[in-house]
């Protein structure tokens, strides 16, 4: 089975984020970059599907600058077969819809039966791109999947919804997005890392995938960042004193009732 994984490189979740001069972007130096944790789940799931189906190919597709090569190589070291990175100066300032259009155009040049992506990227938390890619390719989508099973050209997915789990079935091809719980991603092994260095990783420009620069970029963004700021700092509150656990508990409950008025 031929599977394409959409991958984004993001700042590590433990990274401290600083706002750049201008106030609409973040400072990108001194940041540790990693594969978006949800996309890592997507890579792992793609590899497991390939293994269980007894063959096929896993292609990593990413829109990203030079530094994204490292994350794509990590996915190749985990076991993916090939990487494609889309990079073009005209992409600066492109929003989620624009990026989805780019990914969809690139996907038109790759044979696939399945597209898998993380359910969201932990940087801009947009939750938009996978669904938009599916829309632009006229593919069905199943989002936030925690379990899947493929049999006879059909996929059966479990997705967590408020108050329970929906079990959803669809015929392939399809795009689905991964939610935590679906798997535990493997680490790249040393032989895997060595092999990854020799695996094909091409870079394509917008011209290569048939997208006009005028279709992307800040000018065409439908979601424009005006300003970034930090959430208001929470002041440290009271440490509740008391002789015993019971005394502290009683004082806490009194404060929650009388001062905070939340009980």
């Amino acid at each position: 089975m031929e599977i394409v994984v959409l991958l984004k490189q993001v700042p590590d979740t433990e990274a401290t984020i600083q706002i750049a001069t201008g106030g609409t972007t973040i400072k990108t130096d001194d940041i540790k970059w990693v594969i978006n944790p949800y996309d890592e789940l997507a890579v792992e799931e793609a590899l497991r599907i390939k293994e269980s189906q007894g063959g096929g190919k896993v292609t990593i597709l990413s829109v990203g600058k030079d530094r994204a090569v490292e994350s794509i190589r990590t996915a190749l070291a985990m076991g993916a077969d090939e990487g494609i990175r889309i990079d073009d100066p005209a992409l600066e300032g492109t929003d989620g819809l624009g990026t989805a259009r780019v990914l969809a155009a690139a996907l038109k040049q790759i044979p696939f039966t399945l597209v898998i992506a993380g359910m969201r990227a932990v940087d801009d938390d947009g939750y938009l791109i996978p669904a938009a890619v599916a829309e632009f390719l006229d593919l069905p989508q199943i989002s936030m999947v925690v379990k899947q099973e493929i049999r006879e050209g059909k996929i059966r997915c479990e997705r967590m919804v408020e108050g329970g789990t929906d079990v959803v079935e669809a015929k392939l091809p399809i795009l689905f997005t991964t939610q935590r719980g679906i798997n535990e991603p493997r680490y790249a092994s040393l032989p895997g890392i060595m092999k990854a260095k020799k695996k094909p990783l091409q870079t394509k420009t917008l011209a290569d995938i048939g997208i006009a620069p005028a279709d992307v970029g800040q000018e065409n963004a439908k979601c424009v960042v005006q300003a970034l700021s930090f959430p208001p700092e929470r002041a440290a509150g009271k440490i509740i004193q008391g002789e015993t656990a019971e005394a502290k508990a009683a004082e806490l409950v009194r404060l929650l009732r009388e001062e905070a008025k939340v009980l």
């Binding site: 700042p11 979740t13 401290t16 973040i26 929003d95 989620g96 819809l97 932990v122 940087d123 938390d125 939750y127 938009l128 996978p130 669904a131 938009a132 599916a134 829309e135 632009f136 069905p140 989508q141 989002s143 925690v146 479990e158 997705r159 919804v161 408020e162 108050g163 329970g164 789990t165 929906d166 079990v167 959803v168 079935e169 669809a170 399809i174 935590r180 719980g181 963004a221 439908k222 979601c223 005006q226 300003a227 700021s229 930090f230 959430p231 929470r234 440290a236 009271k238 440490i239 509740i240 656990a245 019971e246 502290k248 806490l252 409950v253 929650l256 009732r257 905070a260 939340v262 009980l263």
Partner: protein, 322 residues
């Protein structure tokens, strides 16, 4: 000319989710600011009766798509019906709730309508009739203000954030013609967690346990949650240890919650956890380590053994609730 506000009111199994009232109330507020009408839309099977409830939250018109094919949420059918409504009614703004289904739907709709969408919004405002959304990014470490372009300007609001405001109207209820059409994904089974379980993202109170719980026995946390009518959450380390399901995880790679009261038991306060609960109105931390970073974010802290403190709080709450 686009005009008015369209608000999607999510129902499941014939009952509105709380988010539906939040979305319609926020829609009313923006419609008033624009001096334009608010249209609420409900999709489902056998939902015409419940739709009238939206008169209480300020809808001027209530559109109902009532069809057996809409009984379960499917991306294809819900998207095509709502895209049809948006094209025909041409609203200026289109609001949805950022529930699991709502996010799936909003994203697909924005692509179909080729318009701007802001997801997980915590505040909305108008700047000369342009929708400007405030939304946390980087899991809440940063807050972005984004301006929306396109028609309609779309926003999906985070559950439990917008105020529910009662505004009575005499809204007319109109039936939408639903063309069943093709759905390529089908819900074949629904596994409920039981009505007793409080949904994390909708809960007024959340009690969470972390590494300090020392193992999978969360009974003291569950008991406190039960007396408070609260949802139970967990830190990433508790989930990574396999003590709690992933669905319970609060944090940058889990759920983001904004309850009135968040009680963190044995959670040190890693940056990625703080990102997921930092917008709670009040935070209580219980930890044996007085240096734990969580105390710097907490309104009330108790330094002590959570296995003694938490049951003592439960007992105290029982006393006041009689």
């Amino acid at each position: 000319m686009p005009q008015g506000v369209l608000a999607f009111a999510e129902q499941v199994e014939g009952s509105f989710r709380k988010i539906a009232y939040e979305v319609v109330s926020e829609g009313r507020r923006l419609a008033d600011a624009l001096s334009e009408p608010l249209t609420a839309v409900v999709l489902g099977s056998g939902v015409e009766k419940i739709a009238e409830a939206l008169r209480q939250y300020g809808a001027d018109t209530i559109l109902v798509g009532d069809d057996p094919a809409l009984a379960d949420y499917t991306t294809d059918l819900y998207t095509s019906v709502l895209a049809g409504v948006a094209r025909q009614r041409d609203p200026r703004l289109f609001l949805l709730g950022a529930s699991t289904r709502g996010k799936d739907l909003a994203a697909r709709l924005a692509a179909r309508l080729n318009t701007g969408l802001a997801m997980e919004c915590v505040a909305l405002e108008l700047q000369e009739r342009t929708l400007v959304a405030t939304r946390p990014i980087f899991g809440g470490k940063v807050v972005a203000r984004v301006a929306l372009k396109g028609t309609p300007q779309m926003a999906a609001v985070r559950p439990n954030v917008m105020d529910i405001v009662e505004t009575h109207t005499e809204a007319t209820v109109e039936r939408l013609a639903v063309d069943g059409g093709q759905t390529r994904t089908n819900v074949v089974e629904k596994k409920g967690e039981g009505a007793a379980k409080v949904e994390l993202t909708e809960a007024d109170i959340v009690v969470s346990g972390g590494r300090g719980m020392g193992g999978p026995d969360f009974s003291i946390v569950e008991e406190l949650a039960e007396v408070l009518g609260a949802a139970v959450g967990a830190s990433r380390s508790a989930v990574d240890e396999g003590w709690r399901p992933h669905a319970d995880q609060v944090g940058q790679t889990g759920k983001v919650v904004s309850p009135n009261l968040y009680i963190a038991c044995g959670i040190s306060g890693a940056i990625q956890h703080l990102a997921g609960m930092g917008s709670s109105k009040y935070i209580v931390a219980i930890n044996k380590d007085s240096e734990a970073p969580i105390f710097r974010k907490a309104d009330y802290g108790i330094v002590g053994d959570l296995f003694k403190v938490v049951p003592a709080i439960t007992a105290e709450v029982r006393k006041i609730k009689g």
